[in-house]
């Protein structure tokens, strides 16, 4: 296993517009508190101790109780026989009380009594199974070693934890977001089944820790960006150009997350992909966006991180003395990619993108692109309401990033297809003899998308029988008289 470092990559959207933070700040009674605390949403950081709290619960206690309770519930679920997921499973909520002193069912602990709710346990078990996550791996990842709290979680007001092995992200979500995810589950299930290469977040669990009258809801997701691989550039893209530029503050960071306008400036030629990969990626995105649109979801982003292989080689050549370390690090990265590809039952389809997409930039440098759609729990219905309360009338029509879902969806796809991902030009090939298959198609197209899709496409012949039948029965022909 690679040596662990403080993760530098932030898997979420740090530049995401949020409710006016000032709205959420409760009146401070002491000047001291005001100076030493920083608050965004429910998250506070005490400047002197560095201690983070969420809804006044210390993050350390929160992460401890999550680890304990998830292990406990997953183990409990493992003892139940596997069965098919039913529609009714999406609405199930399982509640377990964890008293500090322990009970017949739960172990003793030192996090203070809490009540733990697991949403749709059977459905999420099915999802984890579909994603190739075995129960014992899930438990080990989450509970074997302490969770690491992300020190740079962005402006969303959420708390972020990463598991010790870099596999999972645990993120606090708002009440409405948790409710919305529950409603989304049947449609999410359908997308997983039909569109297994989906770029949507992989949700592994939805939980609620209730303690001292406070509810802290959390979602467990995949970690899009393995920290072992250095990301040379990182973008949060919405397809909008209105004010979509990283702030000075963001740029000053070690690993800033840039935005749409930055990408247009930095990578004017976009990222060039092999035609088959380009087609498959665009088709996947189109299918994902259709689902998001059908649930009136918007304001989601494409998180895009670029590892530049040629740049990496140059960096390493410059630091020649570190060559040995470089090789070591690179082998680790390779093993992460391999294991990511292998661990999934449906790796060929599902995890097609998770090991990075090979691409080139305008200089012809070889890249590995990591991407996924993030922040999908914002529904237009209540988003719209929020907009009215905190956003002023600065809208210029089409280019404001918050717009109605179908427009948002189309603009998002257009931007990705026009500016981000470009199709490499195929050199004209010598004419092949009939029956001789195209080597390019067969070698680059792992899952055989194009073939599968073309076989599904309806031929004009499909409409023939009716026409024929109508022709043989003049009384059934369309009446063309006015």
């Amino acid at each position: 296993m690679a040596t662990k470092e403080e993760p530098t990559s932030n898997p979420v959207n740090p530049g995401k517009p949020v409710d006016d933070p000032s709205k959420d700040i409760v009146p401070e009674t002491a000047v001291v508190t005001k100076v030493t605390q920083k608050k965004i949403g429910h998250r506070r950081v005490d400047a002197s101790t560095g201690q983070t709290t969420y809804k006044k619960t210390p993050s350390s206690a929160l992460s401890g109780s999550i680890q304990l309770a998830i292990s406990h519930t997953v183990a409990g679920l493992s003892s139940k026989p596997e069965r098919d997921v039913l529609m009714q499973d999406f609405q199930v909520v399982e509640t377990i009380v964890f008293p500090s002193e322990g009970s017949n069912l739960t172990p003793a602990h030192h996090f203070g009594e809490f009540t733990f709710r697991t949403y749709a346990p059977t459905a999420f078990r099915y999802f984890r199974d579909l994603f190739g996550i075995r129960p014992d791996d899930y438990m080990l990842s989450i509970s074997r070693l302490p969770l690491r709290e992300l020190s740079n979680p962005g402006a969303s007001g959420s708390l972020f934890f990463v598991t010790h092995d870099d596999e999972f992200i645990i993120k606090t979500v708002q009440h409405k977001e948790a409710e919305f995810l529950q409603k989304l589950l049947p449609g999410y299930y359908m997308n997983l089944v039909q569109n297994p290469r989906t770029l949507l977040p992989k949700f592994y669990g939805l939980y609620n820790v209730q303690s001292g009258g406070k509810n802290i809801r959390m979602v467990v997701m995949n970690n899009l960006l393995p920290s072992v691989i250095k990301m040379h550039l990182k973008y949060d893209l919405k397809g909008s150009t209105y004010k979509r530029k990283a702030s000075k503050h963001e740029r000053a960071k070690k690993n800033p997350t840039y935005k749409d306008l930055d990408l247009l400036q930095d990578i004017p030629d976009g990222l060039t992909l092999e035609p088959d990969i380009h087609n498959a990626l665009m088709k996947t995105m189109q299918r994902d966006c259709l689902v998001l649109q059908s649930f009136k979801i918007m304001d989601y982003s494409l998180l895009l991180a670029i590892h530049n292989l040629d740049e990496m080689e140059k960096e390493m050549a410059a630091k020649n003395k570190h060559a040995q370390n470089f090789k070591k690090g690179y082998r680790a990265a390779q093993s992460v990619m391999d294991s990511t590809m292998l661990r999934t039952k449906y790796s060929k389809d599902l995890d097609h993108w998770s090991g990075g997409i090979p691409a080139k930039n305008g200089k012809g440098e070889r890249l590995l692109v990591f991407c996924g759609v993030i922040d999908i729990l914002q529904c237009y219905k209540w988003k719209k309401k929020m907009e009215h309360t905190w956003k002023s009338m600065i809208a210029d029509g089409d280019s404001v990033s918050v717009h109605r879902p179908s427009f948002y969806c189309e603009r998002f796809q257009k931007f990705m297809g026009d500016h981000v991902f470009k199709k490499s030009v195929v050199k004209s090939q010598p004419k092949r003899q009939r029956g001789q298959s195209s080597r390019r198609t067969h070698t680059t197209l792992v899952g055989g998308v194009s073939n599968a899709e073309s076989s599904k496409a309806l031929t004009p012949a499909a409409t023939e029988p009716l026409t024929k039948r109508l022709q043989s029965r003049p009384d059934l022909l369309p009446n063309e008289s006015p």
Copy 2:
């Protein structure tokens, strides 16, 4: 293609308890009418002309308009690009008006103006695709030649049509049943995806013909029993023994449908299946019943038809002069089976049972068993209400066929496992060397169910990490003090 005969097999449940028919008979004003009309539910048969009507619509006009409208809508749908099914698609209803004189969109016809509604067109297109039914095949089957009306449709009050090629059944359903099927669709979808060998009806479409203020709703389904294969015995089984005996009237028919008590008497040893087939069939049934139970569905039946290969040979030997015809008929049957197996994309899984299940009876005769779960559109909620209105207090507790869904579900499975399908005894095999695979398993288990399932089953190791962790942290061990 085999020569067409009037189908002798009734694909539905002829002995199904229905509302007291007398309740539905409107007061007759003329004695003549009373004598010459027979009515069950909405279906009437004029004894003198033989003409059937449903809600006073002649069946011939109904079948003509269905053929026209289904062809039209399927062709229309074919021109739209294929896309994934969304949750919202299950609620869509598409309406087209078919004026007699035709319109810009619809052909002229002579069935009288009608409005045609297609329920969940995109979802059913997806189902048809999953079942391997191509749009042009669907249209051809339904509209190339007139539909045949089943002359012996049983006591359900529904009208039944079979397509000329024996592929599809079109059945009228009540308003509540149609509504219920719409609600069922997401769960039905999930079962199709997870349990592809399902024995539940294959629903290909749900439609409504509205004409003269009347709504006639219809469902298009698979035809379980190919009429080209002679069925020597046919049962409608509910797992109940209370009054579950075919009536004298039913027994007098050429091809009666027997019931549970008849089976216990006629086939006391049940039908013996190879262990792997038995396991797979029982597992499939269990998964199907779980879905039915989760939707509070009950009163469904297993339609079971038996083709006796040895009996057939004897019959043919006795009629030696017909030997040539026998061979011809048998070849046709074989080709039907082959095409059924082949036509489906997922034939290996999905249509595992549709070509007949090899079995033996107590005498050791070779059988082909055709079976499927039918009548699944009865929801307990409103069934219960019906029971109270027409069924008296004759219930003896557990053996009345209408009971609460979970009890019904368990009794149904128990009856099928205990009395209908028996597992053949495996002869003790010589000890195999390590690494040498069992030939039986590999030859009989087409889909590899057992293997797939055992690999999915959770091992005790799944619960290990928590235990280990707790052992290493005494503070987390369960508190066993009172």
